[in-house]
C-alpha cells in the first residue's frame, strides 16, 4: 500500500481496467497503480502466480501491463498520459511475443 506525501499540482485521468482514475503528471504507470492498492500487475506463464513491480527501474519485467492495447509494457518506465488505458492481470509474456533481432 502506498500514499502520496504531497497533493499533485497537475492531474490526468487514466483508465485502469476500465475504471477512471486520477493520477499526477510525472507518475509512472506503476506508481499510479500502486497508489490504488494494486500490487498484482500480471501472472507468470509457468505457475500462474501473481507478480508486481519489483525493481522499479526496468530490470525485472515483473511490472508488465497492457497500455493502450499494447501488451507487455514495463509499467515502471512508462509515464501516465491523459486518457491512457491500462489493463493489468494479463498472462505472462510468452516469448513468442518477442521477436529476436
Amino acid at each position: 500500500m502506498f500514499r502520496r506525501l504531497l497533493e499533485p499540482s497537475r492531474q490526468v485521468t487514466i483508465f485502469v481496467n476500465g475504471q477512471a482514475l486520477i493520477a499526477a503528471v510525472g507518475d509512472t504507470v506503476a506508481a499510479a497503480l500502486l497508489l490504488t492498492g494494486n500490487t498484482r500487475f500480471r501472472h507468470t506463464a509457468k505457475s500462474n502466480s501473481p507478480r508486481g513491480p519489483y525493481c522499479g527501474m526496468g530490470v525485472c519485467f515483473d511490472c508488465l501491463v497492457t497500455i493502450n492495447g499494447e501488451p507487455n509494457r514495463q509499467a515502471c518506465l512508462a509515464l501516465v498520459q491523459e486518457g491512457m488505458e491500462i489493463m493489468t492481470g494479463a498472462a505472462a509474456p510468452k516469448l513468442a511475443a518477442y521477436k529476436r533481432a
Binding site: 500500500m1 502506498f2 506525501l5 504531497l6 527501474m57 515502471c76
Partner: protein, 464 residues
C-alpha cells in the same frame, strides 16, 4: 542521426561526459531509458515534486546543478530510449540500435560511452516474488519521482548504505517503518577493520553517522538478521525473521529488500567487453584502461557500470571518459585538457576513499546470495536454486548450458535478476572461481524488441 559520441545513460557519469565533450563542440547524443535525466541517483532532479524540499538530502540536490549544465550543453537527450545493441563497424565506428516504445532504429557513432549505472544485487529469499515485495531502490524511486511512500506496515530489510539513506528519508517524511532488519553479518566488522583508516578520512563517515542517528531515532532496528522469508498467499502479509537465533514473524504489506548494488553489465557484455570478477565486491566489472576505455577500442564505460563508486565518483569518471574521447578525436590539443584531467582524477580518488571499508562491511552473507533449494532464483522462468543445484550435480557445464536446460536467464530480463546467483551457485558447488565459471553469455538485443518496433526498423531501412 549520426554523431561523434553516443552516450547511454543520463545519470551523473553520462551527463558529465556529455558536458565535457560538448565543450569541444563535438556532436553528442545521450540515450536514456527513463523519462527524464538524472539516472537513479538524481531521479526526477529537475522537476520532481520534492526537489524544493530537503527531504531527500543535500547529495540529491547537488544533482540539480549538473542537470542544468547538461540541459544547456547542446547534447541531444533522447529519453524513453533503450539501447538494445552496439556493434563495431568496419570503419572503426559503431552502429547502435535504439528503441522507443514506438519504433526501433539504427544510428552510427564514432565513439560510444556506456554509463548505464548499477542495479540492485538479486535478493533471492523465500517469497521474494510475492506482490508487495520490492527493492529499496524501487521504493526510493517512487519517493523521488512522485513523492509516494508506503502506507501500512512496511519493513526495510538487507544491508548497505542505501538502507540507511532510505530509512532516513522516510523518517524526514514522517513515515514510520514497522522495522529495519539489518542483515549485515556480525563478522563483517572485523573484516572491514583494516580498511578503517581510509573510511575515517572519507566523506562517508560523517554522513553515515548522521544518517544512523536519524534512522535510530525514528525506526525500530533489528540487527544480526540471518534469515528472511516473505510470507503470504498471492500477496505479502508478513515477514518471518531469524535474528540473533530467535525466529519471529512481523506482519507487513510491503517489504523492501536491498543487498547493495552491482554494475549493469548486459549491454557491455553483449558488445564484447571483457569483464573480471571482483571478489571484494562479488560482481563482474568491465576490464578498463584508466581513462575508461574497454577491451573494445573506442568503447568506453564510466560511472557505476565501471565499478560501484557512487554519484561523485561517477561524475568524475564521466568527465575523464569525456576527456579521453576528446583526446582520441583531437590528440594535438590533449595538453590543454590536463588541468581538467588532474582535477577529475583527484576528485575520483577522493570519492573512492572509504569504499573498501563499505565493500567489506556490507558484503552480503552467503545465504542471501545462494539461497536454499526451494527458493526461486530466476524470477522470469520460476527456476529454483534446487533445480540449478541438481543439474550442476548431474554435470551441467556452466550458466549457458543451465540456461538451455532450465530456461534460467532466458526470460525477458535476460539474466539481470539471476546472472550473479547462477555464477555463484556454480562456483560454490564445483569449486571453481566465479571468474572461471563466467557470467551467462549475453547477446543483443539486450532488451526484448517487439514486433511493432521491428517493423519500424524495417521501414527505416527501406527509406535509407
Amino acid at each position: 542521426m549520426n554523431c561523434d559520441l553516443l552516450i547511454i545513460g543520463a545519470g551523473p557519469a553520462g551527463m558529465a561526459a556529455a558536458i565535457t565533450a560538448r565543450q569541444a563542440g563535438i556532436s553528442v547524443v545521450v540515450a536514456d531509458e527513463n523519462p527524464a535525466v538524472g539516472g537513479q541517483v538524481y531521479r526526477s532532479v529537475e522537476t520532481g515534486p520534492l526537489v524544493q524540499s530537503d527531504l531527500l538530502g543535500a547529495d540529491y540536490s547537488s544533482g540539480r546543478e549538473l542537470a542544468e549544465v547538461f540541459a544547456a550543453s547542446g547534447a541531444q537527450h533522447q529519453s524513453g530510449t533503450t539501447v538494445f545493441m552496439i556493434e563495431r563497424t568496419q570503419t572503426h565506428g559503431f552502429t547502435i540500435g535504439l528503441a522507443t516504445s514506438e519504433r526501433a532504429r539504427m544510428v552510427e557513432a564514432r565513439h560510444v560511452l556506456i554509463a548505464t549505472g548499477a542495479l540492485e544485487r538479486p535478493c533471492p529469499i523465500p517469497g521474494w516474488t510475492l506482490p508487495g515485495v520490492m527493492t529499496a531502490g524501487a521504493a526510493q524511486t517512487l519517493l523521488k519521482s512522485s513523492a509516494i511512500a508506503p502506507e501500512g506496515p512496511t519493513i526495510l530489510a538487507g544491508s548497505g548504505p542505501l538502507l540507511s539513506v532510505l530509512a532516513a528519508q522516510y523518517a524526514r517524511a514522517g513515515v514510520k517503518l514497522a522495522a529495519v532488519l539489518d542483515t549485515t553479518p556480525r563478522g563483517n566488522w572485523l573484516k572491514a577493520l583494516p580498511h578503517l583508516p581510509g573510511f575515517l578520512m572519507s566523506p562517508y563517515l560523517l554522513k553515515g553517522l548522521k544518517l544512523l542517528r536519524e534512522v535510530m531515532s525514528a525506526h525500530r532496528i533489528i540487527r544480526h538478521v540471518s534469515a528472511l522469508e516473505a510470507v503470504g498467499e498471492g500477496q505479502l502479509s508478513g515477514v518471518s525473521v531469524v535474528a540473533s537465533g530467535r525466529t519471529f514473524m512481523i506482519p507487513a504489506t510491503t517489504l523492501l529488500l536491498h543487498q547493495g548494488v552491482v554494475p549493469q553489465v548486459n549491454l557491455a557484455m553483449a558488445s564484447g567487453v571483457a569483464h573480471v570478477w571482483s571478489e571484494a565486491r562479488l560482481a563482474f566489472e568491465p576490464a578498463l584502461a584508466p581513462d575508461g576505455e574497454t577491451t573494445v577500442p573506442g568503447l568506453f564505460i564510466a560511472g557505476d557500470s565501471a565499478g560501484i563508486g557512487g554519484a561523485q565518483a561517477a561524475q568524475a569518471r564521466g568527465l575523464l571518459a569525456g576527456l579521453a574521447i576528446l583526446d582520441r578525436i583531437d590528440p594535438a590539443t590533449r595538453a590543454s585538457r590536463q588541468t581538467q584531467r588532474s582535477r577529475a582524477e583527484a576528485s575520483l580518488a577522493r570519492s573512492l576513499r572509504g569504499r573498501a571499508f563499505l565493500d567489506a562491511l556490507y558484503r552480503p552473507a552467503p545465504q542471501f546470495r545462494m539461497p536454499a533449494d526451494d527458493v526461486i532464483i530466476c524470477r522470469c522462468e520460476d527456476v529454483t536454486a534446487g533445480d540449478v543445484r541438481r543439474l550442476i550435480a548431474r554435470g551441467t557445464q556452466g550458466p549457458n548450458q543451465m540456461k538451455a536446460f532450465t530456461r534460467a536467464g532466458m526470460g525477458p530480463c535476460q539474466g539481470r535478476s539471476c546472472g550473479l546467483t547462477l555464477t555463484e551457485l556454480f562456483a560454490k558447488q564445483t569449486g571453481r572461481s566465479p571468474q572461471q565459471v563466467g557470467h551467462l553469455r549475453l547477446r543483443a538485443p539486450v532488451k526484448p524488441i517487439t514486433v511493432g518496433q521491428m517493423a519500424g526498423l524495417a521501414d527505416a531501412e527501406q527509406r535509407d
